[in-house]
């Protein structure tokens, strides 16, 4: 009897210990997150206090005059990441659907491998490829022809305005799209594979064509989790630094066209942190970091809200 009680209490002790262990693991994460946020707020505070709300709407970024405004990098970040998602998402859906529904098993292995390989390439390689291959090609075969064809005073003229060197917001978005593509495609593929066989068979059993099964049944079936896949890609696109720094042109001016040089928050920080001379400059960069933190967080919360809405 006593032995048994001892045994039970030992199990209970173990249980409590295990719970505490898991709890502290979770708390470490929370503390890190909170610490990060606090450090960014403290570090960025001088700049935020100095410039006030102007920091977010001013496009000035002049280390000599100590005048910093984040509008250029913020818009650059949002536009490149947004464009990248617009380019990558249809491709990713196409890849995933092809792999799951149409691809012969032999080929699927190799295509999957290629997709995974794409995810494993270091971002600096993408950056170099972007600068040395994509940018010149883009300048010669897209920007220059458009330059001659499009009336510079028209809407399109303004949209495509820019120095034809291929280092601009659009090419940066293209690189980002290639980089996030494998993440989104892989997750979407897993999700499509998770659609129960009987649901798929039922759809075919109704007389659906393969296109109807995919578009009307399978994609809606995974819609909720697919938002997670998109957010994963968006998160990566928002924060991607090296490849973007290579190709975006690193201009602090507010981007006025698709083919204008620009900068993102991450590229600005990477470019200037080592050389930031004054305290205000460092503080402005930390404030930028805080903004990126908030944007990424907002994207995640937005995704959660979307998912919640769908449940109701």
């Amino acid at each position: 009897m006593t032995e048994e009680t001892n045994g039970l209490s030992r199990a209970a002790r173990q249980d409590a210990f295990f719970q505490a262990l898991c709890f502290s693991a979770a708390m470490v994460l929370m503390a890190t997150l909170a610490g990060l946020l606090v450090a960014l707020v403290i570090g960025g505070w001088p700049a935020l206090a100095h410039f006030g709300p102007k920091f977010f709407i001013s496009a000035a970024w002049d280390p000599v005059a100590e005048d910093y405004g984040a509008a250029g990098p913020i818009v650059g970040t949002l536009v490149t990441a947004g464009l990248a998602m617009v380019m990558a998402l249809p491709l990713a859906v196409g890849i995933a659907v092809f792999l799951v529904e149409f691809c012969p098993a032999v080929l699927a292995k190799y295509v999957s491998m290629a997709v995974e390989l794409l995810a494993g390439i270091p971002s600096i390689v993408y950056g170099m490829w972007g600068l040395f291959v994509l940018a010149p090609w883009f300048a010669l075969h897209v920007q220059l022809p458009l330059f001659y064809v499009v009336d510079p005073d028209s809407f399109w003229g303004h949209l495509f305005e820019g120095i034809p060197n291929g280092a601009n917001i659009f090419t940066a978005a293209m690189i980002l799209a290639i980089m996030v593509l494998p993440y989104i495609a892989t997750v979407l593929r897993e999700l499509l594979l998770s659609v129960p066989t009987h649901v798929r068979e039922a759809a075919y059993g109704m007389g659906c064509t393969p296109y109807e099964v995919v578009s009307r049944i399978m994609l809606p079936y995974i819609r909720r989790s697919a938002i997670g896949a998109v957010m994963l890609g968006l998160g990566r696109a928002l924060g991607e630094t090296m490849a973007v720094t290579f190709i975006i042109g690193n201009s602090h001016e507010f981007p006025r066209s698709l083919f204008a040089s620009g900068s993102t928050i991450a590229s600005t920080i990477a470019n200037e942190f080592a050389e930031a001379s004054s305290d205000l400059h460092v503080s402005a960069l930390l404030a930028l970091g805080l903004v990126l933190f908030v944007i990424t967080f907002a994207a995640l919360v937005g995704a959660r809200l979307l998912i919640g809405q769908e449940k109701a």
């Binding site: 129960p196 039922a202 659906c208």
Partner: protein, 285 residues
């Protein structure tokens, strides 16, 4: 189940419905999962407007047989069928073959178009498979695949189908709720409603009640008996009482062969083969 191969070798007893009553006629069907043969020269005549039940121990091939009738096995590259499945004046397994004595065509040629075939031979699966959309849309979806109807017509089709599937009273106030919010039994009747909404000639049911409680099963059976006035039904079931209660013809299968096929009344009261007698009386081997 301890049936051995010898019992499957017993001469089969087939008392089919007359030729002119058949809507589907399977002749000499062999089926293969890759290299493994699962059906051996199976015959299955399906009478119009009747319920045909397929029974037999697990693994006897009854579900496999059912899945050939709307060619759903076509989704899987390793599976293939040989022989004749005659429907609409054609051999579904070989659309170009000229068939002399096939059941007459009742609609446009199918010509190997699986989508068109499945609009005319619907299927309800073992597990309820509502689509991720509202109850209304679950039914409207299938109808829209095959024809254009006005909103008013669609409302009517939805109501009629749900009524025939004995579900209307339970869902009429929540048609815009997700099909997934229903109970298992309701989901299965929704799938039946969805299947009949496209007005198929034949409805295939693969153990539709195996995941349902007795009350839901009873409701489903009532619906099926009502439905046979308008549709031909082929049902695979493990439940012998169910087969005896609702079916007009019963096919007993064993080890990939059709051992006995007769009107249900006679078949259950006086099985003609030792194998079926053992099976229905619960004396295995």
């Amino acid at each position: 189940m301890n049936f051995d191969a010898k019992q499957a070798d017993v001469a089969s007893v087939i008392l089919p419905p007359p030729m002119e009553q058949r809507v589907l006629d399977v002749r000499g069907l062999n089926f293969f999962y890759g290299k493994h043969q699962a059906l051996f020269g199976v015959d299955l005549p399906v009478a119009r407007g009747k319920i045909t039940a397929l029974i037999g121990p697990s693994g006897c091939g009854k579900s496999t047989l059912l899945r050939t009738l709307n060619k759903i096995y076509d989704l899987y590259p390793g599976q293939h069928a040989e022989g004749q499945i005659l429907f609409n004046g054609e051999n579904l397994l070989n659309p170009r073959e000229a068939v002399e004595d096939a059941p007459p065509a009742a609609g446009p040629a199918i010509n190997g178009d699986n989508a068109r075939l499945r609009a005319r031979i619907g299927m309800v699966f073992q597990r309820p498979t509502p689509f991720p959309m509202s109850i209304y849309e679950n039914i409207a979806f299938g109808v829209r695949l095959h024809r254009n109807v006005s909103r008013a017509q669609m409302d009517e089709i939805v109501e009629t189908s749900l009524t025939r599937a004995a579900l209307w009273d339970e869902v009429k106030d929540k048609l815009d709720k997700s099909g997934l919010s229903l109970s298992g039994g309701q989901q299965q009747r929704l799938c039946v409603a969805r299947g009949i909404a496209v007005e198929p000639e034949v409805l295939l049911l693969d153990e539709p009640a195996s995941a349902l409680d007795p009350l839901s099963t009873a409701k489903l059976e009532t619906a099926l008996i009502e439905l046979k006035q308008s549709f031909t039904i082929v049902i695979v079931t493990h439940n012998l009482q169910q087969a005896a209660r609702i079916s007009d013809y019963t096919g007993f299968m064993l080890m990939g062969k059709m051992v006995e096929f007769r009107p249900s009344g006679e078949a259950f009261v006086r099985p003609a083969t030792a194998a079926m007698r053992d099976y229905v009386t619960g004396r295995y081997g």
